[in-house]
Point group: C2
Chain length 603, copies 2
């Protein structure tokens, strides 16, 4: 035990080894959304050790056809856990730090009570008489298990796909019980397309004569119908690109052209799907598939009241993660969850992992994804104090860091204690971390870059990975005290409109920019007729990206229009720095200042 | 008849009225890719009249489950044709101008010989003994029909989905017979994902006990299996968004919550799919579905030799059209066909229609799409002679037209007779039309904008609707004499690299740009520290899009590097215009010229 702990501390990955599942029997009646069970059992596994104050428990929730066996080698059948690469000593979910629990969901067929279980009242399998299920019922059953394990709060609840919906249900249902949640490749409601796919699978089962209204034995199961359902579903778990890479148009039988193209020859992708269907009927039950897919289709945290209403009591810190190639639970479906929480001012982030493997990406050993889980769990603790960062940058000769510091100093001075700040183009979250540490500011950063967004997560800074204009458009009026544009307005098309939208969302807007009217720029351009190249404008035109430069004069003219309609804001404080970006510049700024920082105040 | 002609000439849409299908019997043996038929019949319809020189025939090819009844009202069953909104007097495919033919494909079950037909040798239905089919076989059978109708060439062949694959096969198989083709929402080969979906459908049929290895009667058909196959396929014909809009999460039964959420209540999307499945088994045959989907999966014009090799003999003018929301035959699969043809220097265009309805968009009454078909068929005839355009622009006070003219004049002077020109950012295709009219130039335009790309089609100018960098990257080395950048380099990130890539594709590159070093710009900027606003720079910063301005000096410094590696090109001719963009400017151009046009020559 000691040695394994040591390994973990050095952050080398270890293995969990053999694990034994356990059974929790609940002998009382359990009321479900659409029925009641006279008793139930939950099969589960745990990894790592619960600490003394019982504050290190992490619940992992599995997907539709997953089970309680997350990690290690099962002593029942020698199988490796379905997320073994993510859960273990020193791994993303570090079992030398956390006590990890995973249970087979209620209604499933891998050991917890479900349609294949014997109904104590009839002594026959429940089959289709098992009550209609909801994700909420699954979570309620998990709560019974946690109560049984005497766990009073969860450090985190984590799940992908149907597991992500459970995690979401957890933070809605038991807000004070859950400190944080990772909702991965999930959705707040099944779309019409997803329901449609599920219904095709269900129809395939129900129209298999062996289904017999759910009354089948292990000898007469509707294997054909279930296999077709699984084959189809399997396509939705992958991406077009992943399938092209894995199978392409390869044929099973090589040989002459006639052989290759005969009716009986198969593409490898066909053979693979048949194998998936074949394997599946061996380990899964048709009635269970019907009940669980219906529970998924029924899941709807949007409903008539809207997502915001249903998420209004969430208090956990939430990270929602989507995968670019997931077309089952798309990035935008995932983003919708985070957007609602962010609109409500909750502690929430949205991250998007660029991965080719479609929905199943969350099950794969993706470095970026596993790192993100680790960063989120460690949260703020991982972070170096911000003054170290500043000190470092002071000694580096990088102008961009000097500039970050200039912004940080001025804007920090403007923001008051406990205010809310939206940082558009937040980079690695340095400003928001500093404001949190020094002024208890509640911040949300927005950045398109996934590496920068992950750095925000490592600082415990909430982030929306995506487009600035989308972020603004989803946020409510007046939901921030400050909106910060730190030297990024140059990258926006029609920036005037974006600034106006920022003034809808925030009471005050801080805009910092490089003053294009700076005398050196003018002098160089008028003398040579070419752009200046220096620390700020570092690339020649042929290596540059299009930018929308502007000067202090142009910015002020936008702010104080003479002919145009009156703007819904006034100019507040302004600070100009000389070309060195350190000393303040007090007169003729459009000629003499290199950097400008403005406050706009909504009127 | 006269009056209907008149209506057509005024381009008002008329109706075809009643149509009677006809039967063509071919009494000889027909050799197929994987078998032989001792005879065959083709059911078909025609609309409009064949002109005297038999040069106005258009063949329409139908999709997987479509049939010969394209337009009008069938006198067999009063059904409206599946493309009635596109085919008729004055419509996109104008039957007062063209003689339109559509036949049920070989192997189908709506009147042409297929698995449900009686095998004359056995006097029993072919069923699964019908030879394995290919798209090529379908086209060969269509050719027999056209021979029978004494049609010696097709003005055009048009088809969407499987019909698009037939159109593609036509231009490959009978290059001298086909003058033009519209390949719509199609692919040159089925992807692994598409094969996978088809295989699920086939498995559903084959594992239906009623299928009985294809030996079923009309009383014992595998209806369940076929219905499931259709339900699934139907999802792939729509888009997530279209389904969300049409069905959302609406339920069939309103009522209290318990009613709504009970197991028996259905989402409307489920009910809709069941209806689609139900309707389909009534009109379609399971063995036919197996044979036709296999023909689709087998279709592969890429193969071992690559698409370019297989398309090398195409001589028809081709327009490939993709739909943005089509995830079955994606825009990039469609684009791949056009890219290959364009790489080969063929007369080909790629257009993308922004439509939400997924693959089935091609069957819908979309104005933009139907207009495109009309423009393509009319081709060059619709176009006003280019000197009219120029004259018009001379009288308008629009600087952008003046400038287009300046470019046109200079670049037209440089380009020689019969050369090949790639125009990047081609706009409405005015330059390429002018070069074609005056110098017999073979041109390809590239523009991202769909309206501009459609305008190119109306001028008979080949166009690639898409990103300039993608267009360049797909084209072969040395495949054009000229690559033209007409005032669009400013919009590119890292333009130097793009220009170098253009010099790989073309021997010479013409770059025209607004000289940012022009004295008025310098004077204004140095005096006021703000950008100038005039005809060229028309927007204030707050309404501008990011741009990468540069001057003559900067461009020449890129072309004549002193420290950097030697560039693989030399500066050729250059022409500068004063700020009026009309008179030539001969000295101190970086100060005095408003417009610069350069020739770069590969060395």
């Amino acid at each position: 035990m000691n040695s394994s702990k040591k390994i973990a501390k050095e952050s080398k990955e270890g293995e969990i080894g053999k694990v034994s599942p356990q059974i929790f029997e609940y002998k009382k009646s359990f009321v479900m959304s659409y029925g009641e069970l006279s008793s139930l059992q939950i099969k589960y596994e745990t990894y790592g050790r619960l600490n003394k104050d019982r504050s290190n428990a992490i619940l992992v929730c599995h997907a539709l056809t997953g089970d309680h066996h997350v990690a290690g080698i099962s002593d029942e059948d020698e199988r490796k856990g379905w997320w073994d690469h993510a859960v273990g000593p020193g791994k993303a979910i570090d079992t030398s730090e956390y006590f990890v629990i995973c249970s087979n969901v209620l209604g499933a067929c891998q050991g917890s009570t479900g349609p294949t279980s014997i109904n104590p009242l009839t002594q026959k399998p429940y089959g289709m008489t098992f009550p209609d299920l909801t994700i909420k019922d699954m979570v309620s059953a998990q709560k019974l298990l946690l109560d049984h394990l005497m766990i009073k709060s969860l450090y985190s609840v984590v799940g992908g796909s149907m597991g992500g919906m459970q995690a979401l249900q957890w933070v809605v249902e038991f807000p004070s019980f859950v400190k944080s949640a990772m909702i991965i490749a999930a959705t707040a409601q099944h779309s019409a397309q997803t329901i449609a796919f599920n219904e095709v699978g269900r129809t395939s089962i129900k129209r298999d004569p062996h289904w017999n209204n759910g009354e089948y034995t292990s000898e007469t199961r509707p294997e054909a119908g279930l296999a077709v359902a699984r084959m189809m579903a399997h396509i939705t778990y992958l991406s077009d690109k992943a399938m092209a890479e894995k199978f392409g148009r390869d044929l099973m039988i090589a040989g002459d052209e006639q052989d290759q193209k005969s009716e009986n020859n198969q593409f490898t992708v066909e053979s693979y799907l048949h194998y998936q269907g074949f394997k599946f009927v061996d380990r899964f039950d048709a009635n269970t598939y019907l009940k669980l897919t219906k529970a998924l289709d029924r899941f709807d945290l949007v409903g008539d009241n809207g997502l915001d209403e249903n998420l209004k009591n969430v208090s956990a810190k939430v990270m929602v993660v989507g995968f670019t190639s997931d077309w089952l639970y798309t990035p935008s479906q995932n983003k919708m969850i985070a957007e609602s929480l962010q609109r409500l001012g909750k502690n929430a982030s949205y991250l998007e992992i660029d991965h080719d493997h479609g929905h199943d990406s969350f099950l794969l050993n993706s470095h970026d994804f596993l790192r993100l889980i680790k960063l989120f769990l460690k949260g703020e603790n991982l972070v170096k104090p911000v003054h170290q960062e500043s000190q470092k940058s002071r000694h580096s000769n990088n102008r961009s860091n000097v500039k970050k510091e200039a912004d940080l100093k001025v804007i920090s001075g403007w923001v008051k204690k406990d205010e809310k700040v939206l940082d558009l183009g937040c980079g690695r979250g340095i400003l928001l971390e500093h404001l949190r540490e020094t002024k208890n500011v509640k911040g949300l950063g927005v950045d398109y870059d996934s590496t920068k967004a992950a750095a925000c997560i490592s600082r415990g800074v909430n982030v929306y990975q995506g487009d600035i204009r989308n972020a603004l458009s989803m946020l409510s009026d007046n939901s921030f005290d400050w909106v910060v544009f730190s030297r990024m307005v140059e990258e926006l098309p029609e920036p005037g409109q974006v600034i106006l939208d920022a003034l809808r969302v925030g009471k005050r807007v801080a805009v910092s920019f490089v003053n294009h009217g700076y005398w050196r720029n003018r002098l160089h351009f008028s003398r040579y007729g070419s752009r200046i190249t220096n620390d700020v404008y570092s690339e020649k035109w042929e290596k540059s990206h299009p930018l929308n430069h502007f000067s202090i004069k142009e910015f002020e003219s936008f702010c104080n229009p003479s002919v145009e309609l009156k703007k819904p804001f006034r100019l507040g404080r302004k600070v100009f720095h000389h070309g060195n970006w350190r000393t303040e510049c007090r007169w003729i700024p459009n000629l003499r200042a290199g950097l400008a920082i403005y406050e706009l105040v909504r009127v």
